[in-house]
């Protein structure tokens, strides 16, 4: 009797410790972000005098200033535009290629696919130097289309690989039925393969969207003109100009981070699935 009591208490104590550990780490994950949002609602003077997480006076002035003086409305729209164009491009281009690699036959097929695979594995950390030169030659540097094409390439290999894996496992009967009904190859890709691939496409859309929204180095070297800059690069110029105005900077950061956090919370099922699947792939 005594020993069962002992084990029960011990078990409860261990569980309490484990939960305390998990909760304290969870708090450190969330606290900096709450602090960011909270500081963005303070003023330059209250941000130092009022250390509480919920500001005594809530003030949206910084958001107004960030959009009006800092031009964050424009940068936000740029980021939205790049993210949606790149994701759209990747979905169409990679699904076409993946379908061909999985279902169609043509000479050189395996070699070309192996090249895409190799690109996924080999890191080229300095590729931005060459891309800068190349885009200059093509007169595509400092243009949105140059950036969009580069970013489509960044997401292409992995997307093709994931989609091909899916198409390989897809039953052929539906496609055969469509073919008998007189559907062309492109028709089958569009009407049969793409709708079936929706779960994989969701993972691809979320991952590539996060990737483009957060991308920094290519945007930094490609864009000179402010009118084209996405949020991540604009933040840096913004920080340079308003170097001591922390509440204003925090408003800029909140504008940049909040959409990602919301998308993540809505789509977390796909993201967590994607991470675990993607790792098995790599």
């Amino acid at each position: 009797m005594k020993t069962t009591m002992y084990y029960k208490t011990k078990k409860i104590a261990i569980n309490v410790l484990i939960h305390a550990f998990l909760i304290s780490v969870a708090i450190t994950c969330v606290y900096p972000l709450l602090w960011m949002v909270s500081s963005s609602l303070k003023t330059q003077s209250t941000v130092f005098s009022d250390p509480s997480l919920i500001p005594k006076q809530i003030n949206f002035m910084n958001y107004y200033l960030a959009v009006k003086e800092g031009n964050f409305g424009k940068y936000f729209l740029n980021s939205i535009f790049y993210t949606s164009s790149v994701v759209f491009g990747i979905v169409i281009i990679s699904s076409l290629a993946a379908y061909a690699f999985s279902r169609l036959r043509f000479p050189g097929q395996n070699i070309i696919f192996a090249l895409f695979l190799a690109a996924m594995m080999i890191p080229i950390p300095g590729s931005f130097v060459a891309l800068y030169v190349l885009l200059n030659k093509l007169h595509l540097r400092n243009t949105p289309i140059g950036y969009i094409l580069c970013m489509i390439n960044v997401g292409l290999s992995t997307s093709i690989f994931l989609l091909k894996t899916f198409f390989d496992k897809m039953p052929k009967e539906l496609e055969d039925a469509a073919r008998i009904d007189g559907c062309s190859k492109f028709g089958i890709w569009w009407h049969v393969a793409l709708p079936l691939a929706k779960p994989v496409l969701a993972v691809l859309v979320v991952f590539n969207a996060l990737n483009v929204w957060n991308e920094y180095i290519l945007a930094l070297i490609i864009f000179d003109s402010r009118q084209f800059m996405p949020l991540q690069v604009a933040l840096q110029t913004f920080q340079g100009e308003f170097v001591t105005n922390y509440p204003l900077l925090m408003a800029g950061l909140t504008i940049t981070a909040l959409p990602i956090i919301i998308v993540y919370l809505l789509m977390q099922k796909y993201i967590i699935k994607g991470v675990t699947q993607g790792a098995v792939v790599g």
């Binding site: 569980n15 484990i18 939960h19 550990f21 998990l22 780490v25 969870a26 450190t28 994950c29 969330v30 972000l33 602090w35 960011m36 130092f48 005098s49 250390p51 281009i93 990679s94 076409l96 290629a97 690699f101 169609l104 036959r105 043509f106 070309i112 090249l115 080999i122 890191p123 080229i124 950390p125 300095g126 590729s127 130097v129 060459a130 891309l131 030169v133 190349l134 094409l149 390439n153 292409l156 190859k185 890709w189 929204w213 957060n214 920094y216 180095i217 070297i221 991540q232 922390y246 900077l249 925090m250 940049t256 981070a257 956090i261 993201i271 967590i272 991470v275 675990t276 790792a279 790599g282």
Partner: protein, 293 residues
Amino acid sequence: MRLKSTLENYLFILPAVVIFSVFYIIPFFYVFMLGFTDWDGIMPAWNWVGMGNFKEIILQDPNWWQSMLNAGWITVIALTFQNILAFLLAWACDREIRLKNFYRVIFFIPPVLSEIVVGMVWRFIINDVDGANMINRTLTQIGLPNLVHNWLSDPKTALTTVAIVHSWKGFGWGFLLFLAGLQTIPRELYEAARVDGANAWQSFKNVTIPLMIPVIVLVAILTVLGTMQAFALIIGLVGGELAGHTSVPVLRILASMRGSSRFGYACAQAITFGVVLIVISFIQYRFSKKAKA
């Protein structure tokens, strides 16, 4: 008819192949070619310099090797502190615990944020401005005022501070992979170990760890490759190389390219760095095969 069909098949891969050739294959060979030149990125003319750039990197560029050491130090902290934390959290969550999904969602918030955002937010939290430094203020409040420190501007602590923020941003990846790995371990094995009289530590050491080796190696490889190439966090956190104290290879490459307009040299640095990364992952891969055997 056959020919038309084959051509039609090529149409499917045409857009992907064009983009991939122009933006991956050409730049790939371009880097290799430029690495052997003295091109400044502006003038149309350039000279072949043979192995000159590589000799300079290896023999006369202490800043480069310093940046490599810095990245190595951040990687050491990521491999130990970050991954052990990730493993412990995953192990804690694996124990049939309530709120498992809640923790899973929360721990992956830092990884979805950009390095720039994470750097700037943490800069605000641990900056040197009096009163706004949350860490220093907390240290004062809990009665440890002698630990108050200019974490980011002191060359002695700047790099380690960078590494810890990097670990904060990155541990969620390892956590998810470790947890996924732990959940594939059949519960019967733990049951059997318990029946055989193993205590918690013994079953952890003899059941969990051996079965987790492949996942541990995978996480280690991803950590090394990701951490060695990280740099945007440093720009957000301290604004740049901080006179070499927080420089990392990618920042060096960027400096050769934009700061001193030495495109050829920047490409040679990129090649050197790429080779180092490939060698590291190859060694880790071999090591994992040995561990399995």
